[in-house]
Every structure is written in C-alpha cells, then in structure tokens.
Amino acid sequence: MTKILLRDRLDDCITRWHAAGFEVIGPVSKNNISQFAAIEKADELDLGAILPGRTLKDLFFPQTEPMFRYRIGKQQIDTEEYLPPERQRIVFGARPCDASAMAIDDPLFGWDYKDSYWFRRRNETVIVTIACTAADEFCMCTSLKLAPDSTLGSDILLRPLEGNRGWLVEELSQRGSEALSRIEALLEKEAAKPLPPADVPVKFDLEACREWLQNPENFESHFWKEISMRCIGCGTCTFLCPTCHCFDFQDEGDTYTGIRRKNWDSCSFALFTMHTSGHNPRSTQSARWRQRIMHKFNYFPGKFSLNSCSGCGRCTRECPVDMGITETLQEITKLSK
C-alpha cells in the first residue's frame, strides 16, 4: 500500500525534523530571486515554480568558501582550517534535474582527490525531490536520458497528487528511510494515483552528438565560430548550471595574514586559461564555447560514463544573449545526419 504526505501536514513535518536535529532547506522566492534557503514554516516554500533560479549546488559547493586562514611568521606559516559545520540537513522540494546533477558531480569530486568539503555536505544532506508535472520550453531533461521523475541523486521522491493536496511518497535510500521514519506518523496509507509527469519533448540526439564530438575532424570545424559568435563570455551559464564545478583559489588578506578561498570560476571567462607567460591556449570565445560542449558531452562522459548536464535548461533560460546547450546540440544533431 502506497504512502502519501498531505500538504497541510508539511508544517508538522518541519517541526518534527527540526526536533530530530535536521535543518530544513527549500526553494524560497525572495527579493526577485528564487534560491535554496533554510525555512521555519511551510508557507515560506515556493514549490509552484518550474524550478528555482539558483541551483542545489549552492548547498554543496558554495560560490565562495574560506578554506583556511594563514599567518606568515618569522620561522613558519600557521594555518587554521575552516571546515563546513557539522549538522544534518533535509532539502525539501528539489527538482529531479538538480538532484541528478549532484549525483553527476559525485564521481568528479571523488575522482583522484576526495573533496572533503563536498562530501561532508553530501553525507549530511537528505534530498527530497518533487517530480515535475509541468515543464517550460527550456527544459530538456529527456534529451539527456533523464526524466521529470528521475530518481538519480534523490533520497525520497514525491509525486504530486491531484488538487495540490499532497504527494505520493517513494523511499529511495537508507538516508531517505531514516528521514521518513521521523515523520512516519504524519504519512497516510492510500492507494493514490499521482499526476502524470510533465511531457518534455526530446530536443536533440545525444548519441549522434557524442559521436560527432569524438570525431577529431570536427574539432577545428568552422561550426564553433558560427555558433558562438554572439557569446559575450560571462559566467551566467556556468554559474547557474547545477553540474558545473570549476573553481579558483584566491588569497584574500595582507602581506602576512589572510584567508585562502575557493571561488567559482568559469571556462567562459577570457582569463580562464591565461598563463602567467601571457599565452592563452583558449584565446577566442569560440575555443571556450567548444571546450564547454566538449567537456560536458565528450570528455566527462568518457571518464565517468555520465554527461555533465542534467537538462535543467537554466543556461538558455538565463543567458543574456539567448545561447545555451540546446541550440548547439540541435545544430550538431543536424550536422551529424
């Protein structure tokens, strides 16, 4: 018999989770932007949007993070580490594209060096995902072989019921079961039928694209210049992408003391690959755009058997000049035929 969670029980759930020591986080619309923030009451949540403007990666890989403070003394350098705080968190209301993006980045952050900042936060966070019953023209999860009700990366999947009365609950992991055990009494047994997931048409042929990208003859194709002529080289697509993970270190301080920080960086920035010698291997915007596409759909899958994209569509939704992954892959699909 399936279990459901009624919407009017949500406040009680939050109370119980708080009592069990969890911080509850969800999508909040405030000050003209929707992003993940800690909440006290259910009415702070904005669960009606297609997806929040900012991504789940903010919770695991913040845009700026102090790593350690250093003090340069006469004989030695002292350091004092900043570690993410120890706590338990529940994210309520992630979307399948955002949750799968976290699972896509796990092998990256655990590849040759286990990033303790990432994993500490991953291990203490339960992700409760709500399946999508609506999509907009920019969504493309299905083109990436994912779906509006994908379970990848989620600990609990909630499927919306009719009339906005609540959700059908699916336990997906040990962590999810533990979180559910705290609110067991608030769930109801009901053979409910959830709303069907959103219809997201497939927009490009991913396999054909990968093959085209792997062909060395296409690396120098004039296509790259044509497709990226209007790209202005900002970091919007990379920073709002839930799978993008490049970072830079900055020491902020004085001659003898400061804090080393890990900050988001973007392959679209002109200075991304600038060497101290002054040579820049990716000196044109088209070379940088090519790198972005190659990394996401050729090199990353080559290493990890996963595409570095979950189809959320934020790149195109937010791009100031209407670029994004979709158009490029649609053109490559055409070229590959």
């Binding site: 932007i33 900012r54 002529m229 900002c234 900050n263 200075l271 000049v321 979709t326 158009e327």
Partner: protein, 276 residues
C-alpha cells in the same frame, strides 16, 4: 512597407554591393518573444533579420569584439538611439573608427518602431540632443526617489540585500558596450583593489567600481539590468550616476564622436559644494 521589410531590403543591398562585409542585427530567438544577435555576411540571409519591439539589446558591444574592425572594412549594425550614443562614446575613446560603422537605426516611440534617417554617427547629432531632455520612465524614477528617501542605513541595507545575491558572473560587464577593458580592474591582483570572491563585501565593491567606471559613459540601454540572472536593479545605480553628471556638469554622454569623456576633462568653474 513595414520597417522590417524596409531594413531587410537595405541590409541585402549593403551586403550585395560589398559596402559592408557583415551586418550585425537581430534574429529569431529560442522562443517567440526572444531575439538574438545575428551576424550575416550574404544578402540571401537578410531575410533572417527581425526588426520589432522585442529587439531591445544594445548590439554596439559586438563592434569592439576581437579583430572585427581590424581589416578596415565597413560593418553594418542595427542600433537604437542609445546604441548610437554607445558608438559615439567608443569612437571618442578611440576604440573604433566611426567611418567604418554603417548604422541602421530605429527608435521605439510609444509602441511603434520608426526607422531613423542617416547611416553614420554624425547624422544623428540632432536626435541625440533631444534625448538629453528626456526623463526616465515613471517606474524607474519612482524607485530612485524611494531609495533617495531612505536614511543612509536603510539605503545601505537595501543595497546589501541586493548585492548579497550577486554571483560575480560578470554578465553586467560582458553585455555592456562600455566595458571593453581587456583586463578588468577586478581581474588584477597586482594589486588587488576589489575582492573577487562573492561575499557581500566583494559584491558591493565590484558593483560600486563598475558604476563609477561607467559614470558619464553609461547610455542606459538596460543591458546590464536584463542580463543579471539574479535580478539586481543595476540600472538604478547607472541612472543615478547619469543624472549626477548631467546636474553637476551638464554632461550627456554619446552626443558626438569627438566629445570629451566627462572624467577626463574639467572646467575651472566646476561646482564644489562639499569641499572643506
């Protein structure tokens, strides 16, 4: 003939005759209400050009993209009046030769588009002079006044809340035609004037520096405001600075391609109301 048909014909003529090597205009975007920058090199592609109210981006920034003008050939470009001001400023700051720019100008008056007569920057001086007298939109003016009505603490809190959202994507900088520095001040670490991290202090400093560097140069095309993915009301700050240079120095940017930049020039009797 609609303005779109008129300009498609003109664009085709310019390309077919070889007068310009490329035309930078607007084309259909990924949704019906979006337009994207279009770069066409042959007359057959002129049919792809769109000229309508959704064409609001200031395309002049593409004129200073790497190498576009270095072969000394002419380039055609679709511009609204603020875009024409941008070209004047770029010329005055020695970033391009105005003789290489063929302008296909249009303006949006009360909901309908009209083509502008002329094709080189000097043809539009009269038009730009009339713009100097124009006020901002009532909504903008209302918000500027609301902010000015706050106490300094309230204002600081307002901007802190806005700048806390900033993610340092630099979309505001990249989309701005006036931000053409090969190495922005924020990208320098010898010395590091502005902290690059996006904590509130770093964001505050970044946005202040950019607003200062645009003072007396910004043409208020709204590009930065539209580009910002976290909806910071950037155009308010730039609007306030444009107002300041107008009130203090009677200066309106982009009036001609030889106009001296406001902060690179002075008058012996410039106002000084606050100097002790």
């Amino acid at each position: 003939m609609s303005i779109q048909e008129q300009y498609r014909k003109r664009a085709a003529e310019l390309l077919a005759s070889g007068e310009v090597k490329i035309i930078i205009g607007y084309g259909a975007g990924s949704t019906p209400d979006r337009r994207r920058a279009l770069f066409i090199r042959s007359a057959e592609d002129a049919g792809l050009l769109q000229v309508d109210q959704a064409c609001d981006a200031n395309l002049s920034g593409y004129l200073v993209s790497e190498g576009l003008l270095s072969d000394r050939k002419k380039v055609g470009i679709f511009l609204r009046p603020e875009g024409i001001r941008s070209v004047n400023i770029l010329a005055a700051e020695s970033q391009l030769d105005p003789l290489q720019i063929v302008i296909l100008g249009f303006s949006d008056e009360n909901g309908s588009l009209t083509p502008l007569q002329g094709s080189s920057v000097s043809d539009f001086s009269a038009l730009i002079s009339t713009l100097k007298e124009r006020r901002s939109t009532p909504e903008e003016q209302e918000l500027v006044e609301k902010i000015e009505g706050m106490t300094p603490e309230e204002r600081f809190a307002f901007w802190q809340a806005e700048f806390a959202k900033c993610i340092k994507c630099y979309a505001c900088r990249q989309v701005c035609p006036m931000c053409y520095c090969k190495r922005c001040i924020v990208d320098n670490n010898q010395p590091q004037w502005v902290q690059t991290s996006s904590h509130t202090l770093g964001n505050f400093e970044w946005n202040l520096v950019r607003a200062f560097h645009l003072s007396g140069r910004c043409v208020e095309c709204g590009g930065c405001d539209r580009a910002c993915p976290v909806n910071i009301p950037l155009r308010l700050i730039n609007r306030r600075m444009a107002q300041e240079v107008l009130e203090a120095f009677d200066y309106f940017s982009g009036m001609s391609h030889t106009q001296e930049p406001v902060l690179a020039s002075f008058k012996k009797d410039d106002p000084e109301t606050f100097i002790l």
